[in-house]
């Protein structure tokens, strides 16, 4: 009897390629879906596909391309739906991107969300949403977080990031619901006297807005898959260091913590790891695609020394990716900025199980170091896409395909996906060139 080892990644990718459960518009759509998904799947598994796949990430490009404002699509899921569909249909990439990342302006408003400024709410109608950094967890609050992360989130963090949830800060500790039947009575007393009901009403409003977006996205996925476009983005997660650096301590805060309270920072990173894994697994549960997007923010060259990267950043990111791979999922970290001097560290990943998106990393060097190990996605520069000519874009794509695409293992994208303000003729040039010149013979 032959021994067979089950490759969970292959299984999941095969299931994705099969299009199980999709109501296809017709046999041609079904065939195209299969070809596209197989092309991506081959690239991920480092086999040579029929041609280099092109699977760009888009955020507000569809809005501007369709003559809408960013504010339009953030406040009306139907408009976002139409804009994103138009991009999928017009450019015929190997994947369709849905509009979950346009978020819901109404949902954020219902919560009085403080961590973003968005189009029509703090920035102009055609300026992308931007994160408002802060010390949402203070330097001396690590213990409170470590002792009771959920309690800290509900009673301290949420009130700070959402004006509408401020009453939660007056809630008694949630563990007080436990003691005998007094506990539940005490909790209701807390709810009654703290204005918690108004916070809950805001949540009801916000979730209704969220559901409008979620239903729109679900319908989009079904329709676009039925038209022959695989949805590549399955789920999402975050490196624990970024969770603390972005949302809790801020860039400056976490950088100082590396010197002043390294042990607590390391403990908090470990504490967040199971959450990060769970987030990746559960967010991809309803999706056919096993790809889990992990945008990285704070581990790049310059932002910390290679030693600090090895100590604080990489271990929990590495464990997160290995855990996702263990579930048959395909982690897709986006290495923002430049990781050229960290390639030898990040190459420690099982072969053919992940996708690394690069922005300013020397992608040709990356091919040397990572070729045969991990599929590379990227990286037509934003500067070219926004200000260059189609000729320049084609030249860059040629080099990309010739060098990084050699033998497979490349998915073409812009360096940060397609920039919102990309010139349409450049997006067209990139798309056409990859389809014409990316064919493997």
């Amino acid at each position: 009897m032959m021994e067979t080892s089950v490759d969970k990644t292959s299984e999941k990718l095969d299931l994705w390629c099969s299009g199980t459960g999709i109501a296809f518009a017709g046999p041609q759509a079904e065939q195209e879906y299969g070809e596209r998904a197989r092309r991506l799947s081959d690239a991920i598994q480092l086999k040579t596909p029929d041609r280099v796949p092109i699977a760009p990430l888009v955020t507000f490009f569809p809005a501007l391309y369709s003559g809408m404002t960013m504010q339009d699509v953030m406040y009306d899921p139907d408009k976002a739906y139409a804009a994103f569909k138009k991009v999928a249909v017009d450019f015929q990439w190997d994947t369709a991107m849905n509009h979950i990342n346009t978020l819901s302006g109404n949902m954020l408003e219902a919560l009085d969300y403080k961590q973003l400024r968005w189009p029509g709410h703090g920035v102009a109608a055609n300026r992308t949403y931007q994160f408002v950094e802060g010390e949402y967890m203070k330097a001396d609050e690590y213990d409170a977080f470590l002792d009771d992360p959920s309690g800290f989130m509900v009673r301290t963090y949420l009130p700070r990031i959402c004006g509408a949830l401020a009453p939660f800060q007056l809630l008694p500790p949630l563990t007080m619901t436990v003691p005998y039947y007094m506990g539940i009575t005490m909790m209701m007393a807390g709810v009654a006297f703290t204005g918690t009901v108004s916070a809950l009403e805001s949540i009801i409003k916000a979730q209704a807005e969220f559901m409008k977006l979620a239903i729109s996205v679900g319908t989009f996925n079904a329709e676009l898959q039925g038209m022959g476009f695989p949805i590549m983005m399955g789920g999402a997660s975050q490196a624990p260091f970024d969770t603390i650096g972005d949302s809790l301590r801020g860039t400056q805060g976490i950088m100082l913590d590396m010197y002043r309270q390294p042990a607590k920072l390391l403990k908090a990173l470990d504490k967040l790891l199971p959450t990060a894994i769970q987030m990746g697994v559960s967010s991809s549960m309803t999706s056919l695609s096993p790809v889990v997007f992990i945008p990285l923010h704070k581990g790049q060259m310059g932002f910390m020394s290679p030693e600090q990267f090895k100590t604080f950043y990489w271990p929990t990111l590495h464990k997160l990716m290995l855990a996702l791979i263990g579930e048959g999922l395909v982690p897709m970290p986006f290495f923002e900025a430049d990781y050229t001097d960290r390639l030898d560290i990040i190459k420690d990943i099982p072969a053919g199980k992940a996708i690394y998106c690069f922005e300013r990393t020397d992608i040709f060097k990356a091919k040397e170091v990572l070729g045969g190990r991990v599929c590379i996605k990227g990286n037509v520069p934003s500067s070219l896409m926004c200000t260059g000519t189609p000729q320049q874009v084609r030249q860059y794509c040629k080099k990309l395909i010739d060098i990084v695409g050699r033998g497979g293992g490349l998915i073409v994208d812009g360096d940060i996906g397609i920039p919102d303000e990309a010139k349409v003729e450049n997006v067209r040039a990139m798309t056409d060139f990859v389809k014409e010149s990316g064919v493997y013979r």
Partner: protein, 210 residues
């Protein structure tokens, strides 16, 4: 003893450095000498950063130590410290963009290396830059931006400075996430800096400082 403090700060020994500062203040030493040591230490930090021995967290930490020292010293300071400056630099993040980490680092490095820095903040309209040029007479302007729309914000800012008749009075540098020399050309700026030290080098070149 002076060298001790300089080295302690430059080596990022926060607690030891603060202890030495307290001891020297208690001994009745001129607070200005302590501030001078602190400044010298930051110059060493800047050099180590330029040599890729230090990284941004080291810069931030040294800045934090220097800030703490300044706070300890301030109550004993009879007169303000008068440091000779190499030149003036205006810096700000361009219209629509609220990112400030990169800008703050460049500000810090320019300040440490002896420039008078006018940091006008984030999301600054072209007019704010123009007003500040008129107010300070600064010959150098640094435009910071992280997002792709900042390409156009920068271009508009450079054009506005030109329209205000100030273009030949200032040198303009750009920097930030997506910037490169293609964008430098697109915006009409004079130079692009890859990192904070490149910004300092440009400022030095333009002021003729050694």
């Amino acid at each position: 003893m002076a060298n001790d403090l300089i080295n302690l700060i430059a080596d990022l020994k926060e607690q030891e450095a603060l202890t030495v500062v307290r001891r020297r203040l208690d001994a009745g030493e001129d607070p200005l000498l302590i501030l001078d040591d602190s400044r010298k230490a930051l110059v060493i930090v800047g050099k180590r950063f330029a040599d890729c021995e230090y990284f941004i967290p080291d810069l931030l930490y040294s800045g934090e130590i220097a800030r703490e020292i300044a706070e300890l010293v301030k109550p004993r300071l009879a007169r303000a410290q008068d440091v000779k400056r190499l030149g003036k630099v205006i810096i700000g993040t361009v219209s629509g963009d609220i990112h400030d980490i990169g800008k703050n680092i460049v500000s810090f490095m320019l300040d440490v290396t002896g420039f008078e820095v006018y940091d006008i903040g984030v999301d600054q309209a072209p007019q704010s830059f123009i007003d500040k040029i008129k107010e300070t007479g600064s010959g150098i302007v640094g435009l910071s931006g992280f997002l792709t729309f900042a390409f156009d914000s920068m271009k508009e800012t450079v054009a506005a400075i030109k329209a205000a008749g100030l273009r030949d009075k200032v040198k303009i540098m750009i920097g930030g996430g997506q910037m490169n020399d293609d964008i430098r050309k697109y915006t009409g700026a004079d130079a692009y800096g890859e990192d904070a030290m490149a910004g300092v080098a440009l400022a030095r070149k333009w002021t003729g400082a050694k």
